[in-house]
């Protein structure tokens, strides 16, 4: 099947193909970690695929009070879109509907970058003219502008603008070929846990795992994407199937990150974590999804990710 292997698990000598995307990060705080997480999970809901959801989003990290601007528990959220304007639209909608509405929540920029996205400056209109701006220095002495919008529990405080980064990448991925659903899910879960631990990287699908990997286009006119038939176990034996006879299930993880290095590090962590336990859970092989290399300029070759300490990113 493959000349490559890691921890005794065959690794297909292929690459994951990923794309340049617009990415940003925000920090959401609340009086308790519980309510900060409620706000964050609400905002990152329905954000699995930029094609269908308008954005891909996920929770990057839980933050201690010492790590947040206002000294309260917080969560760092990453949000990705095709381009800055689409990202801005999704950001304003999601903060407006999920963060503004959540009791006790405040919202801050979570990353520095070259592209300014007006956030509080747009949401302030909810304040119906009663909102006020306030410019205060942050911990580093840099002046930051906030909007204070009167709401029924006091005020919603939101930073005037956030930043989109250059160099964000979406679509890093790994596919795990297994024998049974339950065992393959355990492998994928281990990969998700390791991949998520990389700062600046998120896995936007449910629990970090997607079972409906897709290919570009489809036989039905107008379909932008359709099922990745080459990896569907029920379509084994047909021309074009990429699965060995013993494969009964394929699960995929998809990774977005603020940097190409983040995607590479996250894929590497996931690959190693999956193969470490894969032998005990019937993992047949690990591969990656691509479109022939012609659509995305970032190519993450699994061959390069086998070395644990490799730091040079692909793409």
């Amino acid at each position: 099947m493959s000349d490559l292997s890691l921890n005794g698990i065959p690794v297909i000598d292929t690459f994951a193909e990923a794309f340049d995307v617009a990415g940003t990060a925000i920090v959401v705080t609340n009086d308790t970690a519980k309510w900060a997480m409620i706000a964050a999970t609400t905002m990152t809901g329905f954000a699995t695929s930029v094609i269908g959801c308008g954005a891909e989003a996920g929770i990057d990290a839980e933050l201690s009070p010492e790590e947040t601007p206002d000294g309260r528990p917080g969560v760092r959220i990453l949000l990705f879109g095709f381009e800055p304007n689409g990202l801005k639209e999704q950001l304003i909608k999601r903060v407006g509907q999920c963060i503004l509405t959540c009791p006790g929540t405040a919202c801050y920029a979570g990353v520095e970058g070259p592209t300014k996205i007006k956030l509080g400056g747009a949401i302030r209109y909810f304040g119906d003219g009663f909102a006020v701006a306030k410019r205060l220095p942050d911990a580093s002495g840099k002046a930051r502008r906030y909007w204070r919008i009167p709401v029924m529990d006091g005020e919603f405080l939101c930073e005037d603008s956030v930043r989109a980064v250059d160099g964000a990448v979406g679509g890093g991925n790994l596919l795990f070929l297994g024998r049974t659903h339950a065992e393959t899910l355990k492998v994928a879960e281990a990969a998700v846990e390791a991949a998520r631990a990389v700062p600046g990287a998120i896995l936007p699908f449910p629990g970090g795992i997607v079972r409906s990997g897709s290919k570009v286009g489809g036989r039905t006119k107008g379909m932008m994407a359709s099922t990745n038939d080459a990896y569907c176990p029920t379509l084994k034996g047909r021309a074009g199937s990429a699965l060995p006879a013993e494969c009964g299930v394929v699960l995929e993880i998809v990774i977005d990150a603020l940097t190409s290095q983040g995607v590479s590090d996250s894929m590497r962590a996931g690959l190693h974590a999956a193969t470490e336990i894969g032998g005990r859970h019937g993992l047949i092989a690990v591969t990656a999804g691509n479109y022939g290399g012609n659509l995305g300029r970032h190519h993450y070759h699994l061959r390069d990710l086998i070395a644990r300490d490799e730091s040079k990113p692909e793409g």
Partner: protein, 264 residues
């Protein structure tokens, strides 16, 4: 560090608008001594009143201040000016950046129109510190003004942006405020009279105008950010935010987007 040492009391008011570390950089002591600082037809020059020692650095010390030294640091945009002693009116007026420190007292209109940098007065300040001069649209406009002692009346009058911290202040502190933040341990009558926006944080105050309405006690996230911002400038003022606070909204005679927080 470049140093100007006062030799004798100035014979007239002196204008230090153009005396900054940047302006002195590249000048010989002789050239610096010939800089005009007088305000009458007598043509007083810098060397007439000061001994000049230059080293081209971005720090200037004025040893021996005097209440006749006007507009000290007014054109400062970078670097540091430190005055040992008193200064006259319009200290740092229009200043754009840098650090300006006075160990003594300052006259009226300190930091008026200052858009950046930090101005610290260890002693007292005259009336209208951080306030607008006649016909000016705004007072303090983005800089940070710290008065360790007592400020006169009309502190922060028509200030538009920035932060003022004062130990005590006279009447009409923050009057006609357009925006910004003013904190004082105690102020006189009518704080914030006619203010449109902005925040006053007061330990105590005199009579408050009837056009302010109490909104109660609020635990707002903004106060946490303000406490963090003030902590590095003056722990004493930051500590005001650790106490129970009552909030007043006003001035209802204007657009009423201002607020006065008062220690309960």
């Amino acid at each position: 560090m470049s140093t100007l040492t006062l030799r004798a009391a100035p014979p007239e008011r002196l204008d230090f608008l153009n005396i900054t570390p940047l302006a002195l950089k590249g000048l010989s002591p002789g050239e610096a001594e010939r800089l005009e600082v007088g305000t009458t037809r007598t043509g007083v020059r810098l060397g007439d009143c000061f001994s000049v020692s230059l080293d081209g650095s971005d720090t200037l010390t004025i040893e021996g201040g005097h209440e006749r030294l006007d507009r000290v640091g007014a054109s400062l945009s970078e670097g540091t000016i430190r005055v040992t002693g008193d200064v006259g009116q319009r200290l740092g007026a229009g200043m754009a950046g840098g650090v300006l420190t006075v160990t003594g007292n300052a006259g009226p209109y300190a930091a008026s129109g200052a858009t950046g940098g930090t101005i610290t007065i260890a002693g007292d300040a005259g009336d209208h510190a951080g306030g607008a001069v006649y016909a000016a649209k705004v007072g303090l406009d983005g800089a940070t003004l710290i008065i360790r002692g007592t400020a006169g009346a009309h502190l922060g009058d028509r200030m538009r942006r920035g932060t003022i911290l004062a130990g005590r202040a006279g009447a009409f502190a923050g009057a006609r405020m357009i925006a910004g933040t003013l904190a004082a341990l105690a102020v006189g009558d009518h704080p914030g009279l006619g203010m449109r926006r902005g925040t006053l944080l007061l330990g105590a105050h005199g009579r408050m105008a009837e056009t302010f309405v109490e909104t109660g006690a609020h635990d707002l996230v903004f106060l946490r950010l303000l406490a963090k911002a003030l902590r590095g400038l003056s722990p004493e003022h930051a500590d005001l935010l650790a106490k129970p606070l009552r909030r007043y909204s006003g001035d209802l005679a204007t657009i009423a987007k201002g607020e006065i927080w008062v220690a309960a």
